[in-house]
Symmetry: C2
Subunit: 234 residues, 2 copies
């Protein structure tokens, strides 16, 4: 008997257990998880079995391992390298431009289902604009599920862009993107300081953690000044 678990490989059970601790936040980034020999004792198994589980977690990027030091919960589940849509503030600064941000509107609504297919009872809705060198760079509409991220209620989104705040605070396990092109209408043209009808790139992103909706964001960029890039292997 490996455990009470039904026909599930032990190393898989270890992976599931540790993932739960990490993704739920019980073990925050930087936390030193038990040594292999401790887990060996806890699960009554050989070190190879524990090692297999930890190696898998390391390969998945959930933990980092250092000889003599131990294994640690990896730093922010940073934005995936797959689809390179980093935090706009970081991205703009990396290009050497001055980053600016202005919160346009903030409100909290109670609604069972956001009009984006995400489920949650209470939503924080933000409208904001990002600037690069004082020129509008992106118009952002953001929904944050306060059921999943209650701390967002007290965050100062007049100073901190919600994307930056969320990336630093909230681990996510799944993200879905939709990308399309649209012609700027009068209002959007004014916001982005482009001519009416200019082609814009619209990116929508829904993010989940363990099946719970975290956030929805719609960002619209002037088409001539922004390119999305994605670089990956099969």
């Amino acid at each position: 008997m490996t455990d009470h678990a039904a026909a599930k490989p032990l190393h898989q059970k270890i992976i599931t257990d540790l993932e739960g601790k990490i993704l739920s936040g019980v073990w925050p980034p930087g936390y030193r998880i038990p040594f292999e020999h401790e887990l060996t004792a806890q699960y009554r198994c050989a070190r190879m079995t524990v090692n297999k589980a930890l190696s898998a977690l390391a390969a998945a990027g959930l933990i980092t391992r250092r000889r003599r030091a131990g294994s640690f919960v990896a730093q922010p589940p940073t934005q995936s390298a797959m689809l390179h849509i980093p935090d706009l503030a970081t991205e703009i600064r990396e290009k050497g431009a001055a980053y600016g941000y202005r919160l346009i509107k903030r409100r909290i609504v109670g609604i069972e289902e956001a009009p984006h297919g995400l489920v949650g009872t209470t939503w924080l809705i933000l409208d904001a604009v990002h600037f690069a060198n004082n020129r509008p760079f992106a118009a952002e509409a953001r929904w944050i599920n306060l059921d999943a991220v209650p701390d967002a209620t007290n965050a100062d989104f007049a100073q901190t862009p919600p994307g930056s705040w969320l990336l630093a605070q909230v681990p996510w396990t799944r993200a879905a993107h939709e990308i399309r092109a649209l012609n700027a209408n009068a209002a959007l043209a004014k916001t982005l300081a482009v001519t009416k009808g200019a082609a814009c790139l619209m990116v929508e992103r829904r993010t989940w953690r363990m099946g719970d909706a975290i956030t929805y964001v719609r960002q619209i960029f002037p088409g001539d000044s922004y390119r999305l890039t994605a670089d990956f292997s099969p």
Copy 2:
């Protein structure tokens, strides 16, 4: 002494060796790779070591494993699930629309470096249009590196879209995308049957195999009829 290799884990060497066979095409899709016990003999190591390597290849999707049957080179290194830009023909048909395709121009040029940052001495250049239900769906400009894919010289791209052909024929190891929005100029508007100035989505993709450039493609879609989607986990 595990081997003459210099400070490289044996299971890593096995992975590298097998990857080479698979990605180079020496072992085509469907090929049954040696059994674990055969590799054990070949590398003079324990089965666990071979198993570790094969498990990693399976996790990476390069091979599939079946009890009692053996391990097989996985079917086409199909388009990654990360950024869902499948073969347009497949995608259109999955939506229930009739797929059409027309080759506009075909030519071969000798040029050291394609104007897209890719290196190769001889390029096959194709211009084509994709149709869904007889309406233009995408304008495509395609460059194929004949050094890497000599068979493309004889392929009948008047019948088979180059994207479909390449996906079925050529394994790739890296792809880079750039996505932007643009207003249709007169020529593009005519090709896509949209009004001049309509917002369009432009996708550029460069693909490599083991460091060698395979293809560059630029596809332009009417912005109101196409959305790119990407769904992934960290």
